[in-house]
Symmetry: C2
Subunit: 556 residues, 2 copies
C-alpha cells in the first residue's frame, strides 16, 4: 500500500453481528472508529466476552491519532478498556464521542481502573484536525441518545461511517438526524460510505420510537395488577416513555437492576431523562404499594441468567415477588441467540400466572436500525463514490449491496468486505488490499486469548464426554506396576456399571504396562502415550464415548 | 385413587415442547399414548437425546394393554425403543398406529435391534378392545401422513387425545381430517379432550399445505442456477410438492441425506409419494447436469451439524459443491433453539453467493399445527365435558385454556396440568391427583440416566473453567512428599504465565503437604481434601476462575 492511499480496514462487524471496529489510515496515521465487543455463543464454553483481534493496532500504537466511538452500545464501545490497556505502554490516544457516549466510556474505564485515558466530548458539527484527518460527528437517531455518524476528511476525500442509525422523523427528544449536514457532505463529495446493514433485510421504513409510548400506555391501562417492563437499560428514551406512561396512569416507578439504575442516573445527569417529582420508589418499597399503583422497570429483556427479571420469573428476587394477575411487558426483541433464554423466562412468567406482553402482541418496541428505505435514503443523501456495507452478517451485507444497486450505484463501486480485508482508495480508484490479521479474541476471567486456544478445544472435549484420569505407579528399575492404579473420572456417565468398569480399567492399565515393560519401553512420555492409546480404545469399546483419557505415570 | 376412576397422567409434553407421552389408566389397566423424545438444549452438555422419565411404566409393565402412537414424528415416537427395552423383561405390549407410523416405528426398532416388539397397523375407524378400553383412531391432517387422534372409550366415558393436528381442508393427498367422526364422538359424549396446544398463540386458521406447492413453483421459476430445497424428511407431502414443482419445470430431482432417502423410500412403498419416471438422479450425478436442470432435496433445514445442507454451506459435501447463482430454499422454520444454527447456515450460503429463500421471503412453508380458530373448532366439534390442553409450554397451555373459555367451556372444567400430575375422573367430576414421578432422562451414548446426574454437573464445571490435576507422591511412613508433584491442566486458560503458575502450584502442593504432615494428617482422603481446599483457593486467587481441582495422592 502506498502512503498516499487511504485505507479502511474493518477489524470487526463484517460477516457477523457485533464487535464493530474500523481502522482508517492515511499518510501513515490512524483513526479508529468504534471498539465494540460481542457476547459469546453457546459453543464458546466458559468465555465471558469476544473482542475483535486488534493485533494490528498494537503494532501501530504510536500512529494512532484518536479513537472515535459512534455511540454507547457494547458492540461499539465495549472493547475500549482492553484496547486502551494494550496501547497504554506505547501511547494512549484520545477517545472522542458524543456526550452520553463519553460518559458511558468514562464509567466503563473507571470500572477497569483506566482513569488516565483521555476522553473528550465532541459536539456534532464541531470540526477537529487530527494529523492528516479532519473529524466531524454528525447527529443521528438510534436506540440510545447522542449517536453519531463519523465524517473523516482527507486530501483524497471524505469517508462517512454511519454508526448505527435510523431516520426517526419524530424522535422522543425532538432532535432528528441531521439530514441537511449529510446532504451537504454529499454535495461536497463523499468518497466512501460505510453504512449500517443491520436491518438491510427489512422492507420499508422503521417505525418511530415515538409510537411506542402510546402503545405502552394502552397496555398499561388494561393491566389490573402490577406492571413490570423490561427493556435495554441504555435505551434511555424508551425508559422515559415507560416513565411517562406510568405517570399518565398515576403509577409509581421503581428501577430494578444495576445497569438500569446506572443508565438512568447517567441519562438524568445529562438531561436525557426527566423524572416527575415523587414518582420513583425504591425496589424494597414496591411491596408497600397497591399492585395497580406500581410499574417496575427492570433489566433482563434478553433472559440473562442473573438479571432481575429472570430472578423474578424464578421466584428468586430478593425484593419483588410476582404473582397471578401481574403483567410483564417485554419492550424489546431477543438478540439472535437469546431466543431460548427469553422464551424460558416468558414461560416461567406464564407459569406464575402473569400476563406477558411481547412485541408480537402489541407494537411496544421499535428497532434502532433503519430499514431498507432508510438505507436507500442514506445512499441518496450522501451520494458516495464508493460503498462498503458494514455492521452485518454476509446476508445483510449482500442485501445492503443490492440496495446500493437499486439506487443506481454501479456494482463495481460497491465493496462487500470481510473482517481484516482493507479497502484501499486513491486517485486511480478503490480495491481490496492484502488481508491483515483479524478474528476473535476471547476474554476469559482476567485473561484474553485467541479462540483457537487449546483450553477451549479441551473444554469442548471435556464438556461432551468428560475425563478419565489414571495414575499408575511403576518401579524406576523394572518399569513394572508396583501399586494398584488409581482410576478417577469426572463427567463420564455410566450409571450402573461404574464399579465393574473401574476394575476392568485397572486390569487394562496393568496389561498395558506389562506389555510396555516386555517391549522395554521405559521413558515416561512413551509409557503414557501407550497407556493413553490402549485406554482410549478400551473405553470407547465399552462406553461408545470418547472422554478425554489422561494417564499419569509416577516412577518410584 | 379408586380403581373405578379414570386417570390421565401426562409424563411429557406439558410445560415444554416435545417428549409427548400420556398414560391413560382405568380398572387397573393402562394404555400409553405416544412415546416421544426431545432434543437436548445447549446446556445439556454431551447429551444426545432427552426422554420422559417413564419409571411409572416400568413399575406397572404388566398392566400395560398397549402403546398407541399418533404419528411418526420423533416427539411422539422417538422414545419407543427405550421404553420397550425397559419393558421387555416383564411384558412387551403391542404398539398400534397408522400405517406410516408403524412403518417408521419398525425401521426405528430395527436400528435398535428390537425386532421382537409386536407392531400393528390400525385403520382409522377400526375398533379394538383392549381390556377395559375401546380404542379407535380418527384420521387427522398434520405435516406427516397417517396422523391420528386417539379415542379411548371406557364405562365412564370417552377420552379423546388429538395428537398433533390441523384442519387442512385441502390436504395434498385429498384426505381431510375426519370431522364427521369427531362430531359423532362429540354427539355421543366425550368426557375429556386432551388437545394439541402448539399453535395456541397464533390467531386465525393455519394455511393449507397445498398453498406451498404453487409458491415453490414460483420460486423455482425465478431461479437461474441449481436449486436446493431443504425440509423435514418426514414431511412427505412437502417432498411430493417439491418433486411436482421440479417436474413442472423440467428439472431432475436428487435426494440427499440419509433420512431424506429413507423417508422417501418408506413413503413410496406406502403409496404416499409418486415419482415421475426418470426424474430421480443420484447425488453423484448432480454435477453432470446443467445447473438449471437440477433440484436437490436435502436434509439440514434445522442447521444440524452433520446434515447434508450444513456440509454444502461449509463447502464440505462430498458430492455437491454450491456456487454463486445457486438458490437454496428453506421450506421449514427453525424449531425454537435452532435459530442460531439455521442463521449460521444461511449466512454461509450467502457468503458462497447463493440466493437464500426462507418462509420470510415467500409462503413456502405451512405449519402442521392448527391455529386458534382450529383449536376452537375442535372444542366445538367434540364438545368435551372436561379439557386438558397438552403439547405446549406453560404459555401455550394457558392460551389454549383461554380458547376453551372463549367457546363457553366453564373454566372449572379446564385443567391446565403439569407433567406427572394425573387428572382423575369419575362420576363425581374431575380433579388433579397426587403427583407421580416424572421429568427427564438423558440418553448419552449407550446409557440413559437422570438429568441431576453427577456427570452432567461435572461437565458444566469442566466446560466453564477446565480442570487442574495434581499428583503428589508421599511416603507411607512419614506422609511427606517424596517426589516433585505432577501438575496437569486441561481447558484452563492462562496464556503467558503457565510455566510460572505450574512452579507456584508445585510449591503450594509441597506447602500443603508439609502442613498436613505437621498436623499428623495421614489418611489419604483427608490429605486429598486438604490439598483440594488449599489449591482451589490458590488457583482462584491467581486466575479468578474456579476450575475443577483434582488432587491425587499416591503413597509409596
Amino acid at each position: 500500500m502506498s502512503r498516499d492511499s487511504l485505507r479502511v480496514l474493518p477489524l470487526g462487524g463484517l460477516g457477523e453481528i457485533g464487535k464493530n471496529m474500523t481502522v482508517v489510515e492515511y499518510g501513515g496515521r490512524i483513526v479508529v472508529v468504534d471498539t465494540g465487543l460481542r457476547f459469546p455463543t453457546a459453543d464458546m464454553l466458559g468465555i465471558d466476552l469476544v473482542l475483535p483481534d486488534f493485533a494490528y493496532l498494537r503494532d501501530r500504537a504510536k500512529d494512532i491519532e484518536a479513537i472515535v466511538v459512534t455511540h454507547g452500545h457494547e458492540d461499539h464501545l465495549g472493547a475500549l478498556p482492553w484496547v486502551l490497556r494494550e496501547l497504554r505502554d506505547e501511547h494512549l490516544p484520545t477517545v472522542y464521542g458524543g456526550r452520553l457516549t463519553i460518559a458511558m466510556a468514562r464509567s466503563k474505564l473507571d470500572e477497569h481502573k483506566l482513569r488516565e485515558a483521555p476522553l473528550e466530548d465532541l459536539e456534532p458539527g464541531e470540526e477537529l484536525t487530527l494529523g492528516p484527518f479532519g473529524l466531524e460527528l454528525v447527529h443521528m437517531t438510534h436506540s440510545i441518545p447522542d449517536s453519531c455518524a463519523v465524517a473523516l476528511s482527507t486530501d483524497l476525500g471524505t469517508i462517512l461511517i454511519t454508526g448505527d442509525y435510523k431516520f426517526d422523523q419524530t424522535p422522543v427528544d425532538g432532535d432528528p438526524a441531521d439530514v441537511s449536514r449529510l446532504a451537504e457532505l454529499g454535495r461536497d463529495g463523499v468518497l466512501l460510505l460505510c453504512g449500517d446493514s443491520t436491518n438491510a433485510d427489512r422492507p420499508g421504513f422503521s417505525p418511530s420510537e415515538r409510537i411506542v409510548g402510546p402503545h405502552l400506555e394502552e397496555v398499561f391501562a388494561r393491566a389490573q395488577g402490577r406492571i413490570v417492563v423490561t427493556s435495554f437499560a441504555s435505551n434511555i428514551h424508551r425508559v422515559q416513555q415507560v416513565i411517562d406512561a406510568a405517570a399518565a396512569l398515576g403509577r409509581k416507578v421503581s428501577l430494578v437492576g444495576r445497569s438500569m439504575r446506572k443508565n438512568v442516573n447517567i441519562g438524568r445527569s445529562l438531561g436525557h431523562i426527566e423524572l416527575p417529582d415523587g414518582i420513583v420508589i425504591q425496589p424494597h418499597e414496591v411491596e408497600d404499594w397497591a399492585d395497580h399503583k406500581v410499574v417496575v422497570i427492570s433489566t433482563g429483556s434478553q433472559g440473562e441468567p442473573l438479571s432481575a427479571l429472570r430472578r423474578m420469573a424464578h421466584n428468586d428476587h430478593r425484593m419483588i415477588k410476582l404473582h397471578r394477575g401481574d403483567t410483564v411487558v417485554f419492550s424489546a426483541t431477543p438478540i439472535p441467540g437469546n431466543e431460548r433464554a427469553v422464551n424460558e423466562t416468558v414461560d416461567r412468567l406464564y407459569h406464575i400466572g402473569c400476563d406477558v406482553i411481547t412485541p408480537r402482541e402489541a407494537p411496544i418496541h421499535a428497532s434502532g436500525h433503519g430499514y431498507q428505505e432508510e438505507l436507500k435514503l442514506m445512499l441518496n443523501l450522501v451520494k458516495p463514490r464508493y460503498v462498503m456495507p458494514v455492521h452485518g452478517d454476509h446476508k445483510r451485507i449482500h442485501l445492503h449491496a443490492q440496495l446500493a444497486d437499486a439506487v443506481g450505484i454501479d456494482s463495481g463501486d460497491v465493496f462487500s468486505g470481510e473482517n481484516g480485508l482493507p479497502l484501499e482508495l486513491d486517485g486511480r480508484g478503490a480495491r481490496f488490499g492484502e488481508p491483515e490479521q483479524s478474528g476473535m479474541i476471547f476474554v476469559d476471567g482476567v485473561d484474553i486469548g485467541d479462540p483457537a486456544d487449546v483450553a477451549l478445544r479441551d473444554r469442548r472435549m471435556l464438556s461432551a464426554d468428560g475425563i478419565f484420569i489414571v495414575v499408575a505407579t511403576v518401579s524406576e528399575q523394572s518399569g513394572e506396576s508396583v501399586a494398584p492404579p488409581e482410576v478417577i473420572f469426572r463427567g463420564v456417565p455410566f450409571i450402573e456399571q461404574a464399579d465393574r468398569l473401574v476394575v476392568d480399567i485397572r486390569a487394562e492399565v496393568e496389561r498395558s504396562l506389562a506389555h510396555s515393560a516386555r517391549d522395554g519401553i521405559r521413558e515416561i512420555d512413551l509409557l503414557q502415550q501407550e497407556l493413553h492409546d490402549d485406554l482410549a480404545a478400551f473405553v470407547y469399546d465399552r462406553l461408545r464415548r470418547r472422554p478425554m483419557v489422561l494417564p499419569v505415570v509416577v516412577e518410584v
